[in-house]
Amino acid sequence: MTVYSLGEFRRFRGQSGDFLYLVPSGGIFSLDEASAAILDKLSDGPLSRTDLIGCVSQKIGYSPLDVTETVQELSQVHAIRDGSPISTAPQQLPEHFPLQTLVMNLTNQCNLSCQYCYEFGEDKIATPEGKKKFMDRETAKSSVDYLLSQSEGRRSVHITFFGGETLMNFPMLREVIDYASEQAARKNVKIDFSLTTNATLLTPVIIDYLAANKVGVTVSLDGPKEMNDAFRVFSNGRGSYDIIEPKVRELLARHHTRPIAARVTMTSQAMDVFKIYRHLKHDLGFHEVGFAPVTSSANRLYSIGVPGMNDVFSQFGELAQEYLSFALRGELHGFSNVSDTLAELHQGVNKSHPCGAGLGLLGVGPSGDIAPCHRFVDSDQHKLGNVTTGLDKQKQSDFLNRGNIQSKTDCHSCWARPLCAGGCHHEAFVRYGDTGHPNLHYCDWIRGWTHTCLEIYGALAERNPAFLDYFAERKAV
């Protein structure tokens, strides 16, 4: 006798109908009356096939044949289970995973002294002592060669410049762009560039160069003056806002070849989401604003804490509703956290690892040492190799095995795992001392946020599906 029970999924409402987010596949299906009734019935407990079909057809007046067909469909997508075993183990990683993105930390020096900085702040893991402070020409070229040699089979690759403060090594940035463009053209590979900067060193010449070379720019800043200057300060303690404001305006006025994004680190002094968003999007004119709570061990002066995060999260929800009302009218809203999540939901990603770190993405420091990503650059403990000698496969596979969702048993019962996969490796290391530890301190927020974005996705699928085409090609950063 076949007995059916519920499979693993998250059910959510759009504006008028019900949807299923299937776990772990990441598929999203909309339900009709019959399929919704079957799931309602099974939510009371498992039921035999005969009883299920009998009850449901009687209740909603569908023919038993129709209900049988629906049961079959739900079973095929694993929304309901008949007890037969299914394999949920993720696919093995291919032995050679081609590199796609190289984050080059051109320098580990910075002209700001942001107190929360993961490179220099209280929770830093970098050990830059005795290492090069600026990347030299030879190392930079080796890095580019390394990217191009390890990205076999890719039609396009990316270089992201990072620091320290990236623009403190602008001459090298230009050289890398020239050299990499030339080498990529020779290999018939498309290459693009982006950078993250604190904006303090932008000049019209630099801005024009970035625009002419279509370099994507992300500016780190935390909002209006009082919030930005709480922690984003020079070494003498002076705030950075007054220096960067005119430069940011200049950047936004002159650079039109790529969307310019603001990246906000939320701290105990920067928690007013709406105020920050309005300022950065409307007063300054950024195309997009992305928010991330500061990475910290518990109880730092700048950390947000649980009540603060609850407040931030409820503001995220409100701003996300504003995003939805824009999207229903076919307009782009600048709250990029929503766009990033919608992009992943639209693809239906099902991650074995939280991000591409150590796999399709690597970080390289001024010395040429390779790290899983920019956040681990210059940390001896996390070094995976060097651009001149290649990756230490053993260390890489240790890092990847730790970070694999398979080894994070806490995550195995969570419906948000296809997107989250345990969260940032670096955040986990700072919190728990292990890159493979799931970030249990923000599970509830991740689930809440994912649910909010699912509802937005459902509403858009019902009312303005054309808007979702925007995400067909968008790659979440």
Partner: protein, 112 residues
């Protein structure tokens, strides 16, 4: 699918993946233009009480034992009614039904 609508890209891929696994429709044997019926390997269309005979009209020269045909008709064929329950094979098939075209009536009703 009729009752579930694939919304995101992964769902479309799932739908594509499960579509071929659906049960085949019932089709006519003589249907030159349309989809062909599933004919179990070894099944005979020439003489059709449900089992196959060799070129001499018997079962001795078949490339596979005749019992295999029973099983295949029952499990995968479109007309299972021809054969006794595959768990209860006709106990003295070979002695009663040496020549299928002539002797098939001898099989008679099989009581489990």
């Amino acid at each position: 699918m009729k009752h579930l609508r694939a919304v995101n890209r992964k769902a479309l891929r799932i739908e594509e993946h499960v579509a071929p696994a659906r049960e085949d429709d019932v089709v006519a044997l003589q249907n030159p233009a349309g989809p062909k019926p599933h004919i179990p390997m070894g099944c005979s269309l020439v003489f059709f009480p449900g089992w196959e005979v060799d070129s001499a009209g018997g079962t001795a020269g078949l490339c596979q034992p005749v019992e295999r045909d029973l099983f295949d008709c029952y499990v995968t064929c479109f007309w299972p009614a021809h054969v006794p329950d595959h768990l209860n094979n006709s106990p003295d098939w070979t002695s009663k039904c040496a020549v299928g075209t002539k002797d098939w009536r001898n099989v008679d009703i099989v009581f489990p």
